[in-house]
Structure formats: C-alpha cells, structure tokens
C-alpha cells in the first residue's frame, strides 16, 4: 500500500510536510463520506485512493454507502442526465420516492461525525438530518453541469443550500448560491499504473503489440468511444495534417460493450479509419492502465478534442508525461492548459490540424509546452494537492475570515 511519504519523491518534502501540519490541526475531528456506490465510477475511485492516505496523515475519516433499489437508481440516473441538460421527464412522485429512500438511509448510514461529506446528488437529501444532529455538512459535486434543467436544479438547490458549503470541480459548474462554494479540481496519482514512470522496453513492446512504429511521429487521443469526445473529428484533423506531414494516429479507449451508443461510435470510427493503415483504433479492455500509460509516453502529441468534457483528466495524464497537448477549450481543460503556455487550446477540426502540423514540424517549440505542462500538473493536479484542498476545506468550516492563522 502506498504511504503519504512515498509522494515526497515526486512533489518534494515541503508539500508533504505541509499536509502533516494541516492534518495535525484536524485532530479530534471525525469525518464521514457518503456516496452511492462502493465500486466503479469516478467517486469510488477517488475515495479508494484518498481515504487510506488521509488516514496515514492521522485524520479520522471513513466512507459509507447508501442503499437503494432499481427504481431509486433509475431516478438518480434521470437526475444525473437532467443536470447534463437532457430532457428526462421526471415526475413529482419520482422525486418523492427519491427523498423517501434518502430518509430510509439516514438511520442506517449516518454515523456520529463532526463533518459529513455527501458526494453527488444520490444521497443529497441526507442533509435533512442536519436540523437534528447539527455538525458540519458539505455537498461535493463531481458532475459537470454547465446546462442543468431548471426544475431539477431548483429541486436540488433547495437541498444544496442547507449545506455549509458546496464543492465543484471546475468554475463553470458553479452557480449563484447562498452558501460558500469551493473549487477542488480532481487529480491524478503519479504513482499509479496509469501515470508511473515506465521503462522504455515496456513502451516499445506495447507499441509493437499494436504494430505502432515508434520511429515515426505518433499523435494520440485516449478516451472512451463517445460522440462527445469527437473521435471522428480527430480523424478528420489527422487527414488534413497527413497531406503535409507524415504521422500515425492512435485512438485508444475503453467503453462498455453493452453500451449500444458506444459501439455505434466505435463502428463509425472504424469506418472512417479503414482505408488508412496509419490509424490505429484500439478498443482496450478494462484494466489497461499500463497500456494507456505506454501509449501516452510513446506519443509526440496528445489530443483531447472533446466537444464537452467534465474535467478531462486524460489531459493531466498526458501533461504529466511531458507531452505537448492540443485540446478543446471545454469543461475543466482550460484549468489544465493555458493557451500557448502549457499547451494549445483549439475550437475546430481545422484549428486542431493547424496546431498538430506546427508542433510536429517544430518539436523544440512543442517540447516547451510539454515541460511547462508537466510543471503545472506537478504544482496543481497531483493527488497531494487534492488531499491538501480537502484538509483546508475541513478546516475552513470552522472559520469565517478570508485570512486564517492556524
């Protein structure tokens, strides 16, 4: 198991020392996290990584999961889609059932704690208990909702404003609210299989397995096969580049085989790619972290040409590997890339093609973006910063001022 001190080799002694200083000031505080699933999904992944490290720092923190039946989760799926702006047709009886299941969970799930951190909309109504038990309550929203359906937002807002604070992953997700709102961006783990250093031999053998030639330039997009990631747009940009500059294109990602839309996107991508032997469409099985790591490291340029994006952590992963990244200015990507400082932000297929050509033709110029990007991720998007933000958030609940002496 990784210990918090292991990260000093990556971020330095100072930042790890600061985590201990903060954790010390949380002594005696008990912190409960509540979400709706123990395995799978981004929230569970974050909690699985973060809770052992917080405990290693001496923080009393744990994690509970609410229970719900199929009906409850079909309603929460609708809530999720409505936050993404999809018309879902959710009835008042369904909202009532949603609240009812939350109330049933109160007795089971809520335990004596000083701070309750409730993740995402599924358990949001647990905050009704605040009136009885008091203590501090935080709503942590992991969802991108730049364009939520009004009636659903109003329904959720009534609960959100009962909390002491709300946490969002990117500035665009924030709304006028009567409570404090905090920005905590997600992070990557530099010591995980997806991001750790890899020997060159492993990178080469993985490229050979997929018949990718490391002697020629490689342009890569890692993402699941989804229209919102615009893989067909990526191929079109590549074709514009290919008229002038030799390169290979790798489109790699996973997806659920029972997701009919994902399979249709994959078919479209394969059709668009079939006449060109330099396009590699790789449908990766789950647990392909080492392969993804190797493909990113083998690349000359990494793309993330999403039409919409939550935070877009694949950008952080590529930057961490010192790669020049060309990405769309959507969701959390502009937080990770400052245009022409730590990468390139584009808005179109043509713009993406233009910058791929520039960076392939001027590798020294491209290298500077990669180097700056890596520094930016090191300072702002590693798990140690994420832990620091949570510690500060917990401490901030007991303070009112903007400048706090600890």
């Amino acid at each position: 198991m990784l210990r918090i001190k292991d990260y000093a080799s990556v971020v330095g002694e100072g930042p790890v020392e600061e985590l201990f200083l903060l954790a010390e000031r949380l002594k005696g505080k008990r912190i409960q996290n509540v979400n709706s699933t123990a395995v799978g999904g981004g929230v569970a992944e974050i909690l699985i990584r973060m809770i052992p490290l917080l405990r290693d720092l001496g923080v009393s923190v744990w994690w509970d999961v609410i229970k719900g039946d199929e009906k409850f989760f079909s309603i929460t799926k609708k809530l999720h889609n409505a936050l993404h702006g999809v018309e879902v047709g959710i009835g008042p009886d369904e909202l009532e059932y949603f609240v009812e299941v939350n109330r049933e969970n109160m007795k089971e799930v809520l335990r004596e704690a000083d701070i309750h951190v409730i993740h995402d909309p599924q358990p949001i109504a647990l905050v009704e208990e605040k009136a009885r038990v008091g203590r501090k309550w935080i709503w942590r929203c992991h969802i991108d909702f730049t364009d939520p359906k009004k009636e659903i937002w109003e329904f959720l807002k009534a609960y959100i404003e009962r909390y002491d604070g709300a946490v969002f992953s990117a500035p665009a997700f924030s709304r006028p609210l009567a409570i404090r709102q905090v920005l905590i961006s997600p992070s990557i783990d530099p010591l995980s299989d997806k991001n750790k250093e890899l020997p060159d031999g492993i990178i080469s053998s993985i490229c050979e397995r997929y018949r990718i030639n490391r002697e020629r330039p490689i342009v890569t997009q890692i993402s699941r096969f989804d229209y919102l990631k615009d893989p067909v747009g990526v191929i079109k940009a590549y074709k514009l580049v290919k008229e002038y500059v030799d390169c290979q294109l790798v489109l790699a990602g996973g997806g659920a085989t029972d997701d009919p839309e994902g399979m249709k996107v994959l078919d479209d991508v394969r059709r668009e790619a079939e006449s060109d032997p330099d396009i590699f469409v790789l449908f990766l099985p789950p647990a392909s972290d080492i392969e993804i790591n190797a493909l990113q490291r083998a690349s000359n340029i990494v793309l993330q040409k999403s039409l919409r994006e939550g935070f877009g952590l694949t950008v952080a992963e590529a930057l961490w590997k010192g790669k020049p990244v060309i990405a769309s200015a959507v969701g959390g990507i502009p937080l990770q890339i400052s245009h022409k400082y730590s990468g390139i932000l584009t808005h179109s297929i043509e713009g993406t093609a233009y910058w791929i050509k520039q960076l392939l033709n001027e590798p020294e110029y491209a290298k500077r973006f990669g180097a700056n990007g890596k520094q930016h991720i090191q300072a702002n998007f590693l798990i140690t910063r994420h832990i620091r933000d949570y510690l500060l958030l917990f401490l901030s609940l007991y303070e009112q001022k903007d400048i706090i002496y600890l």
């Binding site: 730049t146 500035p171 905090v182 700056n372």
Partner: protein
Amino acid sequence: MENSFRFYTRLNLVELLGRQAKNVAQLLNGLKQVPDSSIYYHTHRFLQQHHYLSPEPPNDFAFWVTNCLSLDSLGEQLASVDTVQFRTIRGLREKFLEILESYCREQNSRNTDCQEGEEFHFMSCRTFILPTPYEARNLKEFCEILKKVSINSIYFHIFEARLRLERGENDFSNWLEDIGQKKLARDISRLDPYTMTLEGLRKKLLQRVSHNVKD
C-alpha cells in the same frame, strides 16, 4: 526568540463566487463588486500556479481580455498594471477599474461577448497561514533555511505579507532592517518579484543574502 525570524507558510483554498462575465462591461461590474480576496486571487493566480514560467503570464483579467475577447490593446493595458507599486488591494482594484471604465466610455457601450464556454469566472481564495518549524537567528541560518523552505513560504513573506496583509514591506526586508542589515533590506525591497519566477526569486534572494554572510 528576540530578533529571530520565524518562517511561515500559506496555503490557499479557492472559492467560487458563482458570478461570471461575458464581455468587458460585465467584467467591470464584477470587478466593482467582488471582495478584495478575489482581486488578489486574479492578480496572483498565475504567479502561484505557474511559478516556473518565464516570462510569466499576466493577471487573469489581461489574459482573458486578450485570449477570449481578442482585445489585444486593452489586454496589454491590463497586463502592464505594475502590481508591485500598490500597497493595498483597494488601490490595485481602482487601477483596473480606471482602465476598464475608460475603455467602456470610448467604446460607447459596444460590447463583444466571448464564445460560449469561455466566460470569465470570478473566484477568490481563503488563505491559511501557519508556522513552519524553521526559525533563523542570524543571516547564516536565514540563508540555509531559504534554500530548503517551501516555495509557498517565500511566496507568503514576499507577496502576501506586503500587499494582502498590508504590512507595507516584505517580511524579509522588515526583519533585515531590524537586525541592522539596512542595505540588504533595501536591496531585497527593490526587487520586482512580479517579473521573475518564484524559483528565480529564491535564487536572487540567496545570492544577495549569502553575499552578506561572507562579509
């Protein structure tokens, strides 16, 4: 301990104000109303988040106006606000307001919106200040600690103390003055920390201090 220098560090929690701007007029309105901590955050974010970059990107207002509204001339004016001259956030805010108000008057309310998704989001920060275990009793110890202390600590004593805590001068110069190192205090005071990276600043501080240790 009398006449010793305790190194502090500072850590920021970023807050979202739920307010955005799509054009210069909305930026101006926002700038009038957001708290001081927001002005501080947007004029120092790049310094803190991109402390390795040289040349450093300018403040958030200039960056947004240039890159999202393509108003290069206004962007340049905002970028060239000489932050080091200001002793209070209030003064700094007034300077930005003056530039934006003048621009809006000249434009006669013609406002171009940014592209959807590129809005300016007002943020602010809550700053936590805490002591580190490091304390210097003389210049030699000061120099040794300066080499190893976190970049957040140097940032705190140079930027945060002077402008945000309105101490008028950076903490290092204040202490050096107290221990009789008046020339060194002045030398450090004359540095423009806004025009170098934080690691570059550490190097410059070390050069000056170590020179005096030898003396």
